[in-house]
Symmetry: C2
Subunit: 234 residues, 2 copies
């Protein structure tokens, strides 16, 4: 179950933990001897760590320990609870609404279903350390999840995965908006206050759309962080 490159990557991660940023690690040829694997396996392990920002390589020179303390990784799709945990908050939720409805034009377009098709709508208030942080509206096609199957206490992603709809990727759009009265009241801020609106369309590995979510975050308690790299070629 554990591949060789994974065990090599784990060893390299340990080795790296004891080194300062920009310190060189042993060459690939030395590592292949040390671990008794082929060079390609060593490269595979290094590539994985480079992808995470733990290491970086310089052609002709060597491979070095990365310099970043905090969120070095490429952005990952996470559930609300995972997101909060990584930020050091305790997540909780309050179900505001759970209805079966027909898709309106916006939802139909986002989910790639026909207008009027059946879907379920979940509205939740998301709390961090018991204080309101966001309001989330999720739509899931009826063909993916029936309302009777949904349990408000468990993770939606896990329930979808158990039904054979594992979420693999998502496209997100992040906007700034001024809060309307309704949302402002839910989030316990003044109307007109700025907020972050994150719209998401999630798909499985084959690109079939699974859910459409729109989350409105209090601007004073939430920001979006990501690392980006510059086009390497040319």
């Amino acid at each position: 179950m554990a591949f060789k490159y994974e065990t090599v990557a784990a060893s390299l991660r340990d080795l790296t933990a004891g080194l300062p940023p920009h310190h060189a690690i042993p060459s690939e040829r030395e590592l292949q001897d040390r671990f008794g694997v082929s060079r390609l396996t060593v490269r595979h392990a290094i590539a994985k760590l480079v992808d995470e920002g733990v290491l970086y390589n310089v052609h002709g020179s060597g491979t070095y320990v990365g310099s970043n303390e905090i969120f070095s990784k490429a952005p990952k799709l996470t559930s609300f609870s995972e997101d909060m945990r990584s930020r050091g908050y305790e997540a909780s939720s309050q179900l505001l609404g759970l209805t079966r409805q027909r898709a309106d034009a916006e939802v139909a377009l986002a989910l790639g279903i026909s207008e009027g098709a059946e879907c379920i709508h979940i509205r939740r208030l998301r709390l961090a350390d018991a204080r309101p942080l966001a309001v989330e509206d999720v739509h899931v096609p009826g063909s993916v999840l029936q309302i009777e199957q949904f349990s408000p206490t468990g993770s939606l992603y896990e329930q979808l995965a158990q039904g054979g709809h594992e979420i693999f990727r998502a496209e997100q759009e992040i906007k700034a908006i001024n809060l309307e009265q309704e949302y402002a009241a839910l989030l316990d801020v003044a109307a007109g206050a700025a907020a972050l609106e994150v719209s998401r369309v999630s798909s499985d590995r084959r690109g079939r759309r699974i859910e459409h979510a729109r989350t409105i975050y209090r601007a004073d308690r939430y920001s979006f962080q990501l690392a980006v790299t510059r086009e390497a070629d040319k």
Copy 2:
């Protein structure tokens, strides 16, 4: 100069362009015969396209054409002009300020230099199709760029690259704010309107910090889009 896997990737991109989403492409073993290269080279080419979202693979089944039309790629670090071009706008700029100054606490922390160290500050109004879109404040350490070297007409990134400081990655924080009077006037919107604030710290390949930028976008004309993937393992 052109590697084999790049030419294979280019051929696959052409082949893919004529196929509908989720259509299977030939197997790796067939492609290795067709192109006369090793299977690893085929895999390298496929991996590149998977990374871009053009293809996806399903273990044990095959490799398929991706489903996404629009922004399928992982987020890339782009200059303002590149960003605007990809959105179909024509970019222009207006220099609002160019000064040499001593780093304050915030800038010093962001750039990893000592407080009071020399840096240059560039403030620009960014326009899309000749209408105000954003106000951008950039700080660059004096050790990286001297004020006499800076030409307001050219691309800052190119000027930095020519000075041996090629930007490789950046960490960004995206927040929503209510605009203060000063920025609102520059952007030609009402005070208190919501705006997107993007703070960025850019580094070269070795992790040396090159610039700190803070860009404030009109919320009604700009949103941030990105594709994310879910953690594959566990």
